[in-house]
Symmetry: C2
Subunit: 347 residues, 2 copies
């Protein structure tokens, strides 16, 4: 009875590439097809998963472009888009996976996905924490914050740390890591609600709404009268320019992403790079996949912190694949408060 | 007979600060005074030196501005300007120095200078090499090239290295160091004569005249079809922007100076910083004084290289303090070919 083994497979499909400007919901469409809930017999070492939670991440904006020579591949028109997610194994022809296993890693924006190279997925071992955390705190965003702060920024107790996009999936963690280490931490974000979170929930020493600051340089000088030792860069553009003029000697900038630039046709000008010479600033671009070997060590550190309440995490959950396109686009208008994810199914 | 102990002291004096634009000879003037050729009796631990050779360096442009909060101090109006130079001790009240000692370090642009903190000078021990080399190859420029290349760039054999301002005091050495290590080295400079030097005297693998390249990005793509591992940054501005778009994954940029910017009122825009994220580029500003502890090690390496002819050095000598203002200004128009220095006296 083959019919019993098939299911509806709702998908978020890319309709067209979006080179510049804010993506629209109509650049994607929701399609329904059906799928056999078994790995095809001839397909060795594959798994079929049911997607539970999908992660909305800024780097996905670039995959909506028609890219050449990028470190990420373009989404294919007519196919479901893909991204990090949490999923449950429904069927497996891979000796390392069995039905019921939970994994996180690259999957499709759809209800079920056939994954033919499951070795690159992470198996979820700790289930005594919210499973959604594996889209953020315990997934790619968490590792980004961890590697970016501890490995790239070379932080020291007492240093002055500035985080932009500070209430986002990565920023909220960088700020908390820096506080745990004994740094002075200031964050910026784009709404009163987010500023309140930074100060009252994540324990930042100070925070400001960049949208209400006519002069970013002045805002930074107010928050950091002695200058900035570490800048965790998530936004780029004008903010980066203002930060460059406020770095301290031997300062470090970890360039994690530059979300303000992703929709731009022309990249914003940065004028103040010259400051890195006399200030001996180190600016380091990084991508998280270079650091995944540290993931076990990260889990060892972070799981106890979560259980002891030393680290908190705010998520913004969109319910259902129908709401996934709007959730993704919302990242670029700052609609999300905290880590944006999509709930496809709760089990 | 006090008269016997005094001498004429010709000086290059700053007439006014120069905030933006190319400095003019008339921003400086030659003055004559006289000086007692003895350290005043009440002045302990000082030396009086006769200046032999003075170094013209790009960073001096900033000292011609009225600066606040810079890592270098402004030149004082009405006083002789100062810079690195080679000098001979005429008199000393410092136990570490005696008449006839040769030193290099910060001195005045004049015939004789009283130095009240001679501890920061370097004593010249090796005199079997041209003494003028201590204004460049064996002085600040040499240490800049050495520390910048070996310490900041983390170079590896076989890497693709690009040097701008490549025939200058620092660039010509960086290129030769990179060749000695087994890198592929391309340099740029601003005249045919300089390009010939790069290729035929310093052994660069290729070189181009940036003034004849309508499209710097295309020039770099032609010279580095596989991209740039290491960029030794001496110029800034448009060149830096073009380089950022041509860096390889895990590339390094050592930002030594940005001479193209020093006369600008408005700093040039850099648009391509975003590339440092996917390419994981490390960009590091540095100043040589952080590395002077390596000077003895540098000498140990470089002196044999000079004697064996493995390292060569081209100098551009202006004769006499009268020609010093023009020599200094010439750095910013690219008039100098090789390391620019001023001969005050040959002994």
């Amino acid at each position: 009875m083959a019919g019993e083994e098939s299911a509806r497979n709702k998908q978020v499909v890319l309709k067209n590439h979006v080179s510049a400007g804010l993506p629209k919901e109509s650049d994607m469409e929701i399609k329904e097809s059906s799928i056999q809930l078994k790995v095809p017999e001839a397909t060795k070492d594959a798994i079929l998963v049911k997607n539970l939670y999908l992660s909305c991440d800024p780097y996905m904006r670039n995959r909506m472009k028609k890219l050449e020579g990028s470190y990420v591949a373009s989404f294919q028109i007519g196919s479901p888009i893909s991204g990090y997610g949490v999923a449950k194994v429904v069927d497996s022809t891979h000796p390392g996976y069995k039905k019921g296993d939970l994994v996180w890693g690259m999957t499709g924006w759809e209800e079920y996905t056939l994954i033919t190279a499951p070795e690159v997925l992470f198996k979820i071992q700790h289930t005594d924490v919210p499973l959604t955390y594996y889209t953020g705190l315990l997934g790619m965003a968490g590792m980004t914050a961890y590697a970016g702060f501890y490995e790239v920024c070379s932080p020291k107790k007492g240093e002055y740390v500035y985080v932009s996009a500070a209430s986002g999936a990565v920023g909220q963690l960088v700020g908390q890591f820096a506080k745990l280490l004994g740094c002075y931490v200031v964050g910026s974000a784009g709404s009163k609600e987010k500023i309140d979170l930074l100060k009252n929930k994540f324990g930042f020493d100070a925070a400001f709404n960049y949208k209400e600051e006519p002069d970013l340089d002045a805002a930074l000088k107010r928050c950091f009268p002695e200058g900035i030792d570490i800048y965790f860069e998530n936004v780029g553009g004008k903010m980066l320019d203002a930060v460059l003029a406020n770095m301290r000697v031997h300062g470090r900038i970890a360039a994690c992403g530059m979300i303000s630039q992703y929709n731009n046709e022309q990249l914003d000008a940065v004028h103040n790079l010259m400051y890195i010479v006399p200030k001996r600033v180190r600016m380091q671009g990084f991508i998280v996949s270079d650091f995944y070997h540290l993931y076990p060590k990260y889990l060892e550190t972070i799981i106890p912190h979560i259980k002891e309440g030393k680290i908190t995490y705010v998520e913004d959950k969109a319910e259902g694949l129908e709401n996934a396109p709007a959730a993704l686009i919302g990242l670029f208008t700052g609609r999300n408060v905290g880590k944006q994810l999509v709930v496809v199914s709760h089990d």
